[in-house]
């Protein structure tokens, strides 16, 4: 799907703004702190229901106001779709084509990929950042992954409550085994899909990494489950299930002591290796930046292959790159359909003409 128009009301530093986008190349210009990133953030919210950088909805409301509202008009070929997200009185309301919807209904509807300066945390940051990347990326292309995640969270809450009870009473409840079974069954399905996804994008990530960095580095995306190991011959759901079940059995006592679940996809991680070197620990700043760009481009390539071209949101991605790397990235993104890119100075998006959107202090001063 592509975005045709967006209307922001009381969102971040926008009081009321309407922006119309071109079908392919869009360049958002403006000095620093004028609202360029806020515009990308709003599109991202319409795509997956949440901000890519702010957890508290209230912080998205313009200072001094009580609500925000984002409305986007999208086109799937010639079919028009309208998505609205509004927040007021601590409640978020979502509508898809005027019908009330849940946040999960948004995920995968429009299809978005964002690359922003915060992305450096994908390599350097805490494991939660990487899990969120996997969850958003896979949920947008595989509905069953999202369903499994929702079921998993429910099982986890139930099981943690039971472990808490066991911790307090000193007795193992007789129904712990059925919650173990559910945790393993749904958890393993999630791990399996994550393994599949990482394997699927690894080749693209490697090729992207090599193109941008102009090296021949061999890239590995290695999934790291907590409490057990998966190697290359773990290729069936049953294999993951039995590894997880064994780890769970050996950890049960520790879990009762702590009062919560210690293994499962909610604590797993993955790492980015180049020629066997973990970039989080041993990568230069430049390599780390290149790595996250390579991952984001691969996410977009995978989405294009599996569910249709995403809206690609690129926040100031050229800022930290030298000329040669910039040229390589420009060539790489030329295969994407709709791109919306922010920059504080004019940049070239290849041969294609870009629609120019200029922002100054939360106002659109030029649109096309």
């Amino acid at each position: 799907m592509r975005i045709h128009q967006i209307r922001l009301t009381n969102f971040r530093n926008f009081s009321d703004a309407v922006v119309t986008f071109g079908e392919r190349r869009n360049l958002i210009l403006g000095r620093n702190a004028q609202g360029k990133t806020n515009l990308l953030e709003a599109i991202h919210i319409l795509g997956v229901g949440r901000s890519h950088r702010e957890r508290r909805e209230a912080n998205l409301v313009k200072f001094g106001e009580t609500f925000y509202r984002i409305e986007g008009v999208f086109f799937d070929k010639s079919v028009r779709n309208v998505i609205e997200v509004a927040y007021s009185e601590q409640r978020k309301r979502i509508r898809i084509n005027a019908k009330e919807a849940r946040p999960v209904d948004l995920i995968g509807f429009a299809g978005v990929v964002i690359s922003s300066p915060e992305d450096i945390a994908l390599v350097k940051g805490a494991p939660g950042v990487r899990r969120l990347f996997l969850d958003v990326a896979i949920s947008q292309i595989r509905r069953e992954y999202l369903r499994s995640l929702q079921r998993y969270v429910r099982v986890l809450d139930q099981r943690n409550k039971l472990l808490k009870q066991a911790q307090l009473s000193g007795q193992m409840p007789s129904d712990i085994s059925v919650w173990n079974t559910k945790l393993v069954e749904i958890g393993a399905a999630i791990v399996r899909l994550r393994l599949e996804y990482l394997e699927e994008i690894e080749k693209d990530v490697e090729s992207n990494f090599q193109k941008i960095s102009r090296t021949r580095g061999k890239v590995g995306l290695i999934y790291k489950p907590k409490g057990y190991d998966v190697d290359s011959d773990v290729d069936s759901l049953e294999a993951v299930e039995s590894l997880m079940a064994d780890a769970l059995t050996s950890l049960l006592e520790a879990e009762v002591r702590r009062g919560y679940t210690l293994i499962g996809p909610h604590v797993d991680d993955f790492c980015f290796k180049v020629d066997g070197r973990d970039l989080r620990l041993f990568g230069s700043e430049g390599e780390q930046r290149t790595a996250v760009l390579a991952i984001r481009c691969a996410e977009a390539q995978e989405m294009k292959a599996k569910r249709g071209a995403p809206i690609v949101l690129l926040d100031d991605v050229f800022a930290e790159l030298d000329d040669e790397r910039s040229r390589a990235l420009t060539a790489l993104i030329s295969e994407f359909d709709q791109i919306i890119l922010t920059s504080s100075r004019g940049v070239s998006l290849g041969d294609e003409a870009a629609r120019i959107i200029e922002i100054s202090d939360g106002r659109i001063v030029r649109n096309g």
Binding site: R142, R143, E144, R147, S148, R151, R154, V155, D157, Q158, R159, K161, L162, Q165, P173, S174, D175, S177, V178, W179, T181, K182, I186
Partner: protein
């Protein structure tokens, strides 16, 4: 009351204000009578006006099969299909540690006793297809295993009258796992 929001409650109240007195009296009478008469069947736990419900009393029902459900409402739904001729067993809940419901709160010992007394050959578990219902199903299946009887669960899969294109992957993959041979 469940499913009744503030606005619906207002509408109902306004309706009663305008309704003829006899109608309101009849409604009150019906509610009081229901409260006086309706209780849970001492055998299966379903709704009944007597100590034992009409289904448990019915000599034509197949006593070798018991269908386990979460709530009395589930019995009514299954009965309305006319498909099932056996007996029922109502758990009055599902395993849910978050709601403080454990195995001891569900009528599982009673189920075991009924199975032995009646000489039941098959137990069909018809709990809801969500994580709590599935955990409950697994728990009961495990508890009944030593009895050596046939234990089944109702099929989950593609709804009738819908289209394969609209079924989500999880429903479809379950439907495949639970596929049936065409005879």
């Amino acid at each position: 009351m469940p499913t009744i929001g503030k606005r619906t409650a207002q509408r109902l109240a306004l309706y009663l204000v305008k309704a003829p007195k006899e109608e309101v009296a009849a409604l009150v009478d019906a509610i009081v009578k229901m409260k006086e008469r309706v209780r849970f069947c001492s055998q299966c736990g379903s709704l009944s006006e007597d100590d034992v419900c009409p289904i448990c009393r019915d000599p034509k029902r197949d006593r070798s099969v018991i269908c386990v459900v979460e709530e009395p409402g589930n019995v009514m739904r299954i009965e309305s299909t006319g498909e099932y001729k056996g007996l029922y067993h109502v758990l009055h809940g599902r395993l849910s540690p978050l709601d403080g419901i454990g195995p001891e709160d569900l009528a599982i010992d009673k189920l075991e006793r009924r199975i032995e007394n009646l000489g039941v050959k098959e137990v069909i578990i018809a709990t809801n297809p969500n994580v709590e219902g599935e955990a409950t199903c697994n728990y009961i299946a495990q508890a009944l295993k030593p009895l050596g009887i046939k234990i089944t669960s109702i099929a989950t899969g593609v709804p009738i009258g819908s289209d394969l294109d609209f079924a989500d992957e999880m429903t479809l993959s379950r439907a495949f796992r639970g596929r049936a041979e065409i005879k």
